[in-house]
Symmetry: C2
Subunit: 331 residues, 2 copies
DNA sequence: CCCATGAACGCAACCGGTTGCAACCGCGAT
DNA sequence: ATCGCGGTTGCAACCGGTTGCGTTCATGGG
């Protein structure tokens, strides 16, 4: 592999000139630059990144932080893939590489390990798989990072989030518009911010439709299918005449549908169901699930772009992406 | 951030001694080593990786090669995630980092871009998303790499693959054992090696059960649900009394089941169905799909470990991992 | 005609590690 | 007392880029 010193010799100039020519420095004359670049191309020159990074004191790498895989976690569906893909393209477009790192819940050294050693310039973390602890670690280390998902009310770091309020509103409005009178709400953990937002959206839709909100129509779970079925059961007991339900996750929604079937209700004839996430099996469930989907690739791209911007300018941005309704058969 | 020069000053020794102590060089006395490491720990020392890589001429990074995300490709299910996770843990355990790179079909420069610049030491590629072209590029560049999936008969590079033969055999045997007499075969593309292997396994199971193989019972598709349904339709026309079918992919299997239902057959009462892959929706299909699953995390770990071994010793290994039957309701 | 000015480029230090080789130590053997 | 030797440690070069500053040369203005 050739070095810029080799190119310099070939071109009859100095290392500095080659370096500058390759980096589009205005200090170099047009003719010289062209000649040097031609030689570089001709020899398939590839700059040694390690050396460059050493000099520049930056790696042009951002790390996507994930937890170690938990078999029971297989829920990590296609959306993660989509987001990763988006992050990757967004990063590459800006000259950055994507590092995938796995951490354990109790590990608090990882920030230093990657930032201090210069293996990464910044981080992308997922709110879903990330404790408050981890976030504090990041801010204390003064690490550049961006987070996907809902964040505490007061925060001073970058983020990209789905529009949970709009998602909840759209879902509920869809059912109300098609004539449903008593639509219930099944959430994830009540303290999860995105769940609260979806609930607020649900409420807004009810209000706009002139419908009364009822406490008897809301129930919470923990995103597990079992909890979805349990919540459905509870609702049915308290309000047997409900004719629609907005569920905060597809997996819970599918479990809820099974529960409905078990109790002899037809979906969507008797009760409409709309889920959230549009996981891959949503399209193949019985009946195919109407649900709210977020644009994964877009989310990824925004995560990448905003982090890079933060890296370059220090700007901290908070953007939210739309949540779209995909209508199938269940509502 | 401190450098080894700083540590050297603090410890009253030279840079070289610090470097050696930190790298467990046998040249350093036990006492000195301990003292230096203590100081390093105390100051939360993190070695500058860029500098280290420049000296060592290796990055301790391997790149996982993926294609840019294609929306119509959403099939890239949980298995990819599992495999990635496995690769990640396997790599970290060996002191390597995982880089995620995306390439386009016509890009032929990527090998040089990453290898020549020292951004990665080796590659992991997926047979499924990888043309013969890409492989040639890799071998010509003399790049260290390992591939997941079936490879051409003659090859001299590392690989990890699922045991398709055993998978096909197990699937067919399961149905035969439970009394099915005429079990059919629906494959993916006939020229795909893994499909051929699964077919051979299917044949072996028939032979072992003393059953006659029939050409009328085999049909091929292209992994798309539509092709699965079409294949099922064709089989039903030719051999209306079949009572079992082994399908080369879950998505096709689910489509086949829908076709069976459409024609008034019950699953599994009238005809048993076994799929392949155990995608996330297999557990939730109607009826829940009996299928063949491969251990993604294991595959990933093996990919990582064997590539690292190749990097260190040059050994080229070809390993295959088991394909396990997961029995649900469809067979 | 001379000097200030700026464009284009070279010199050499620096980034922070690694490593071959020389230097030094105390020791038992000759 | 001298020599040889194994065990430790330091010196300095090297990895391949980047960049502040000085140098060279042509040009335009006084």
């Amino acid at each position: 592999m050739k070095t810029i010193a080799d190119l310099a010799r070939l071109a009859g100039v100095s290392k500095s000139t080659v370096s500058r020519a390759l980096n589009d420095s205005p200090l170099i004359g047009g003719e010289t630059r062209r000649r040097i670049r031609a030689i570089a191309r001709e020899h398939r020159f590839q700059m040694n990144e390690a050396a460059r990074r050493l000099s520049l004191k930056q790696s042009q790498i951002v790390a996507l932080v994930t937890y170690a895989y938990q078999p029971d976690w297989a829920v990590a569906d296609a959306f993660s893939l989509e987001i990763m893909s988006g992050v990757s393209t967004g990063l590459h477009a800006n000259g950055y590489d994507l590092l995938l790192i796995q951490i354990t819940p109790k590990d608090t050294e990882w920030v230093g390990r990657y930032l201090g050693s210069g293996r990464a310039d910044g981080f992308i973390v997922m709110a879903a798989s990330c404790t408050q602890q981890h976030i504090s670690t990041l801010v204390e280390a003064n690490a550049p990072f961006i987070i996907w998902g809902s964040m505490p009310a007061s925060h001073d770091y970058c983020s990209v989030d789905g529009d949970s309020f709009a998602g909840g509103r759209t879902a509920a409005a869809h059912m109300l518009r098609s004539g449903r009178r008593r639509v219930a709400f099944i959430g994830g953990p009540a303290r999860a911010r995105e769940v609260q937002e979806r609930y607020r959206g649900y409420l807004a839709a009810l209000r706009e439709a002139g419908t009364q909100a009822e406490d008897a129509l809301v129930e919470y779970g923990d995103y597990s299918p079992a909890s979805g079925a349990a919540a459905m059961r509870a609702l049915l007991e308290r309000a047997g005449d409900l004719d629609g339900v907005f569920v905060s996750s597809d997996l819970m929604a599918i479990a809820a549908i099974e529960e409905l079937h078990a109790q002899g209700r037809r979906v969507p004839e008797d009760v409409a169901v709309v889920g959230y996430d549009d996981v891959s099996l949503a399209a193949h469930s019985d009946p195919p699930l109407t649900t709210i989907r977020q644009n994964g690739p877009l989310a990824g791209r925004l995560l990448a772009e905003n982090l890079v911007q933060n890296l370059r300018t220090g700007a901290v941005t908070n953007v939210t992406i739309p949540a779209d309704l995909v209508v199938r058969k269940s509502a």
